[in-house]
Symmetry: C3
């Protein structure tokens, strides 16, 4: 993300002193023309010619700032709205992308508000084509059963400093809906990583407990639907190509009774093949084994290339395909196919 | 609270190179106090004392930017929100005004996203008092039957360079709702114009095809409700006064069967009558001839003046009246009257 | 549309003229971690661990600007959005905080749009801990019966210049919903104040007339539900401590028949107790005497302290408690308790 002109100009204005206070206006506009067909959602779906939003990166605009409080202490904030560039619609709440305030120093950083989880940070860093409509990972895993929640409200987070390449982060999100007969919804998330030169390797953990309303048996204190995610992920930049990948497990429980396992593998490679041209390949596979009931399986891949027009703008072409199967019977349950030719601009 | 502008302004001092990349925060705030009475909507309507929004120009704020990519190529974006200055409410989707990304060069410009149609561009340029609550044109035509859609989602547009005053633009908007038994909604729009000194003359075409859901007979592939607009419009600036006007035809079809014609004429004059004072007059008349059923007729005019307080701010007074008749029986169907005294500020 | 950046930048190069035109991007991000329990709303409510929004000041971002028109005349605007920092949700309409345009000069200022009422201005200036989730005043009064409307749509306001410390403001807000059988909703508000050195003393009046729909007897012209507020308020800064306080009366009428009185008293003290540390105490009591039916009583207090990290950032801790009683029977109707430890940042 580029520091907008406002911040840069403040720096230009009066030197280092002014760097202490600034608000930066920033964003990404990414749109493509292409076609999409989703026979998983509807067996009779037709291929649609589309203008789509966020092929390479979700559309956003935001305000962020940082203030030097002296003694190594800093205060910062970030407010980020997501939108759909093809229709001009807001995507989610006003500041779905982030709404946070933080204090940072030698001790690390503490943040309050709505923000991406530590788990999401590690997944994002090791996704083949991160955070995009043409990424194969999230959609493939969701089509098997379920993927993690990337951003949480009402969150307190702590990010450690880096010690010899090692760092960690932990976040807790309060549901604020505790009653006299039910536990509150809550999310907790953790990340441990080692980053050194071309290597990144990390472990992520996220537990999502959702309050169950009274049923049969009545939901009592402690009764929630729980999703527990574990992730091992890594990336290595060989120079001629960068490899990324990860393995994720998910266990789903309801009122303490196991419902099933959803295990997923993803990997990708991105390589600069010519001046200003990069190619990307990504793959994801995910299987859901239910304790009782139907098993599902989804596999997906993306092949894409971009042409770098400037540090802030690139043009791209990409193709994504996801396939879903009934993993008990082996029956085909449809495909998602998306072809996109687009432009991304960062400000 | 920080003066962002100071920061931005200092940027200028650092020279031409910085002009290559920027984000601009811009807008219009326009509000008036006045009265309005609409007996077309309700025969028993009373006159309301109001604070109204956008007398001269719709309220908006936005971000836009342009980046020089070298070799004559540029990337640009525009995100524009509309709002009601009298209540602070958002008007429509987040970026109703525009949400687009474009690449431009010697070949012209290609844009993706949500934007005004080429047809709208020509209508806007020749409206007596463009894009305003006190303009007589749009409301008069809508009261007869129907006017065109000014902005479209999911749009691909091409704007040509100008050759000896001649230029053109074309846009296609995809409905993305094709099914195995129905065509997608789609809009297409075209503009050809000649602009030379004081003269502008142009032709516009817009076709709006709306998907019909199954009925009797069942909507099959190709069955849509179609609105076809044609426009001849011109303006001439005599210096002592500027004349504008246009003639618009609309044919409405449903499942290929003609429903009726809605023909409209509008014209206006704006003249600087004293230092910093301009007067405006506009007229519109529109008739709907139904193949079967009732015909309607609407006529409207606006008389207005503004006082230029600065390049960015003016005060204004205006009066608009629209009259609707049953054109089969000649019966009066009511009037809309609006009186406004307001201020407009551009930033 | 004007290229604000370029224009502004060019102004900067020309020196002092720059201040004449500007758009400022500003805001506040305020979040806390704490706990809250509200047995007034629900007798079985549990204590919730929360991340909360706006402990010391409501979260907001906005754009504002001022243009010197020459001859002492200025044009200005303000667009301010409110949001919840803990969830990223928009709070109310797009520009709930303010959406206004104004002209000001030696004569004072005239403003159009949505804005805080003059009454609200006086209440805000004399609130112990203004405009915050941990302020005791508004919530206490609302729990007794009703408090005033702080911001109004469709408003015309006039603010006088200051003569020897005396100034005033008046605002009228039109409901724009007059019918042939019912008066429009309308709000009118007034403020008179004297400010001189450490002293501020003021009188506020606000009348809120709400249109009643037809009932038994049918609502005829002039029939509204009326709330009439009167306020005497003052503050005095002794240096070692600042005292604030006010007394508010509210009379509620329906169709000209008195329903009851809601009288309220509030006061507070804020004192700098050490370098960069301030403590705050606030109290509010409110009684509702119904002509027929149940009387209510609410009392509340807040104890808080902040640590000033910079001119733009502070950390704070606060505790608020509100208690409601049935003032006819003396029965306890519950308590609201909020504990907050937070950070506020202004940009």
């Amino acid at each position: 993300m580029k520091k907008s002109l406002i911040a840069l100009a403040v720096l230009a204005a009066s030197g280092a002193a002014m760097a202490q206070s600034s608000v930066q206006l920033y964003g990404i506009v990414d749109a493509y023309v292409g076609s999409t067909k989703d026979t998983i959602k509807s067996a009779t779906a037709e291929s649609q010619t589309v203008v789509g939003s966020g092929g390479l990166k979700s559309n956003r605009w935001g305000m962020k700032g940082s203030e030097d409080l002296g003694g190594g202490l800093k205060a910062g904030f970030k407010l980020e709205q997501r939108f759909k560039s093809d229709t001009g619609e807001q995507d989610g709440v006003a500041f779905k992308g982030e709404s946070s305030i933080n204090l940072s120093g030698n001790f690390g950083a503490v943040a309050l508000g709505r923000m991406g989880t530590p788990y999401d940070d590690l997944r994002g860093k090791t996704n083949p084509i991160a955070d995009t409509n043409i990424s194969p990972v999230g959609d493939t895993i969701k089509n098997a059963k379920a993927d993690y929640t990337d951003k949480t409200d009402n969150t307190v987070a702590y990010v450690s400093p880096t010690f010899n390449g090692f760092s960690g982060a932990v976040a807790v999100s309060f549901g604020e809906n505790k009653t006299n007969v039910a536990d509150a919804t809550s999310h907790s998330s953790l990340k441990l990583q080692y980053a050194n030169g071309p290597l990144l390797v990390g472990y992520g953990f996220q537990k999502e407990e959702s309050q169950l309303t009274a049923g049969t048996p009545a939901a009592a204190t402690g009764q929630t639907e729980d999703k527990t995610f574990n992730l091992l992920a890594a990336s290595y930049d060989f120079g001629v190509a960068k490899l990324v990948g990860g393995y994720q497990t998910l266990e789903i429980e309801s009122k303490g009774v196991k419902q099933g396992d959803n295990d997923s593998l993803y990997f990708g490679v991105q390589a600069p093949v010519a001046k200003n041209i990069n190619v990307f390949f990504g793959y994801a596979g995910s299987e859901y084994d239910a304790v009782t009931g139907t098993d599902y399986k989804a596999t997906g891949f993306t092949l894409a290339a971009n042409y770098v027009l400037s540090k802030r703008t690139d043009a791209y072409v990409g193709y994504k395909q996801i396939k879903k199967e009934n993993d008990t019977t082996g029956a085909d349950m449809g495909k998602v196919k998306t072809l996109a030719v687009g432009v991304r601009h960062t400000f």
